[in-house]
């Protein structure tokens, strides 16, 4: 009995935090995400881009990992550890911006489809079907190779391919909320449709969208590095993780460490984001907890 009264005393946010902080995996994941975010933000302070990241030093080319170069050096004598650290900035920003693009477009369209229904919904949902009928990776490749190779086009391509999922999730969430009494009440007091959607409906649909966004950042980082690996991502000499992998592939026979470490960086980042996303899902929506 005491337990329940104590629970009730906590606010909604505190309750979610309580659930979240009890999940060890989620806490470890979030900690790693924080560290990675720190590295990405302060990459400029930690490293000097021109000398340490893209500066060539042919005298020290192709060295195996040692105390001086933790992850070894590449074919131009650049320290791979430094390049991976700085690459955090590229890979993470691509992931974040791409998902934001998908989020804004997808949530808007999904909310419109769910709220208004009718012909508008039909058009939006059928277009979504068409967009998602093409495999994501193929669509992204087509978009980047047509628009040209640059970091912005990479973000746009990965962002567009994540639109359909946001549309579907938002629409489904809006449908469950649309007929609630408070929506009817806000209609009755004469609020505009835009206000109803953004102030009353969307805030009540947030949890599935937040979870989806977190997990999407993880897969966007993988998609972005895959495109860079194919030579369709961030142009050289920027140390994006996928480009590092594709550079290392040429030396895979004798210098396998060049392939090992960038992939490890991708894996740890994505793993941390996935653990955080799973934890968020469990704490935001206890019904889903398996």
């Amino acid at each position: 009995m005491e337990q329940t009264t104590e629970r009730k005393a906590r606010g909604q946010v505190a309750e979610i935090w309580h659930q979240f902080s009890r999940n060890k995996g989620a806490m470890v994941g979030s900690f790693i995400v924080l560290v990675i975010a720190f590295i990405a933000i302060f990459a400029d302070v930690l490293l000097d881009y021109d000398t340490q990241v893209v500066g060539q030093n042919v005298a020290e080319r192709l060295q195996w990992p040692s105390a001086a170069h933790w992850f070894g050096t590449d074919e131009l004598g650049r320290d791979i550890f430094f390049r991976i650290l700085y690459g955090t900035r590229f890979s993470c920003s691509v992931g974040l911006v791409a998902v934001s693009i998908g989020l804004v477009i997808g949530v808007t369209l999904g909310a419109i489809a769910g709220f208004f229904g009718g012909a508008l919904e039909e058009v939006i949902m059928r277009s979504t079907d068409i967009l998602s009928a093409v495999p994501n990776m193929l669509m992204a490749i087509v978009i980047v190779s047509v628009l040209g190779q640059s970091i912005w086009n990479l973000m746009l391509a990965v962002g567009i391919t994540s639109v359909p999922q946001f549309v579907r999730i938002t629409r489904a969430a809006v449908l469950t909320v649309r007929n609630q009494e408070y929506v009817e009440a806000s209609k009755a007091i004469g609020l505009t449709n835009g206000k109803i959607i953004f102030k009353h409906i969307l805030p009540n649909c947030l949890s599935p969208i937040i979870v989806q966004a977190t997990l999407r950042v993880a897969s966007a980082i993988i998609s972005a590095s895959s495109l860079s690996f194919l030579g369709l991502g961030v142009p050289a000499p920027a140390p994006e993780w996928g480009s590092l992998l594709s550079g290392g592939r040429k030396y895979i026979r004798d210098y396998s460490y060049m392939t090992l470490f960038p992939g490890l960086a991708i894996m740890i980042t994505v793993l941390a984001l996935n653990m955080m996303g799973d934890g968020l899902r469990d704490s935001l929506d206890p019904k889903l907890k398996k």
Partner: protein
């Protein structure tokens, strides 16, 4: 399905048109004059506006003509069909790897929910989910092809060449399938009919393997179907890493050559293939779960009466 195909063709055709430069710029012989280029464009119909080209293209599609590649001058449909067997072979091999590894692991985890074994396999599944697939392929090449000379690192000449790419894709798919199997089994294991089965004295193994698994199959089949559709779409990266001559690489190569008919045709064919696989999965539900078939029959019966 047909509206989706028309939509996809429209989308791809117009995106391709946004690109600066066309196939002629890339394939023209050295020293060709502007008039030569114009002549080639006229031959290919590239001097027409995009709407006209699209209408012509769709007109061809109506009687099954997917056009001719700008670059190799071969029929698009034939070129696609040449590459398809390799992709199909790889897809089924990968799905086999994934199913053989994930379903037992998922069942094992579900029957030991909350134990260390369960946690370890879930962490492993999570790691598998987070690994970039092409990186895993590269690691496999380092381990099994460069260090121990067990399998070739690329091509499809020998039978053993399929092992590494199939392992790469299969283990990539494993994470999702293991998690689905586990959660679906967990749902079923709580049902009362399992308690009844145990009470009847049926050995635990039979309870899990036939009574529980059969009822947990629907979500598992859904995931296998979606995954199959996904790999059939061409695993561009794995095909690139292992120099596998499949559909994925065909599309990337023709994209680089700005070969619009080949790109559009291949993507349309891929979309059709995916829709068919997903349709088959839907039909399979009825086979696995008689309740679904019964529902369908009841609905149809009602319609007839009404």
């Amino acid at each position: 399905m047909i509206p989706v195909i028309i939509g996809v063709s429209f989308l791809v055709f117009f995106i391709m048109d946004l690109a600066p430069g066309d196939a002629v710029d890339l394939m023209a012989p050295e020293g060709a004059t502007a008039e030569d280029l114009m002549a080639i464009r006229h031959d290919l119909g590239l001097d027409q506006p995009v709407v006209i080209r699209y209408i012509r293209y769709m007109g061809g599609m109506l009687h099954g003509d997917m056009g001719i590649s700008y670059v190799s001058k071969t029929d698009v449909f034939d070129t696609y069909m040449q590459k398809l067997p390799a992709t199909i072979k790889l897809s089924f091999a990968s799905i086999l790897v994934s199913v053989l590894l994930s379903v037992p692991l998922g069942i094992y985890s579900a029957t030991r929910q909350g134990t260390i074994q369960d946690n370890i396999s879930m962490v492993l599944a999570m790691i598998g989910l987070s690994m970039p697939n092409f990186w895993l392929g590269l690691l496999l090449i380092i381990a099994f092809s460069l260090h121990i000379h067990l399998f070739p690192s690329g091509g499809d000449q020998t039978l053993s060449a399929i092992v590494l790419p199939a392992l790469t894709i299969g283990t990539g798919l494993m994470a999702t399938l293991t998690r689905t199997t586990r959660s679906s089994m967990l749902d079923v294991l709580k049902q009362e009919y399992l308690r009844t089965a145990r009470a009847k004295g049926i050995p635990e193994k039979t309870v899990v393997m036939s009574h529980a698994l059969r009822n947990a199959l629907i979500p598992i089949i859904t995931i296998i179907g979606t995954q199959l559709a996904g790999v059939l779409g061409g695993s561009v990266l794995t095909e690139t890493v292992f120099a596998w001559p499949g559909v994925g690489r065909l599309i990337v190569d023709s994209l680089n050559m700005r070969d619009t008919p080949l790109v559009t045709g291949s993507i349309i064919m891929t979309t059709i293939l995916l829709s068919i696989v997903l349709l088959l999965v839907d039909l399979l539900y009825a086979v696995v779960d008689p309740r679904i078939k019964a529902q369908y029959i009841i609905k149809r019966g009602r319609k007839k009466r009404g």
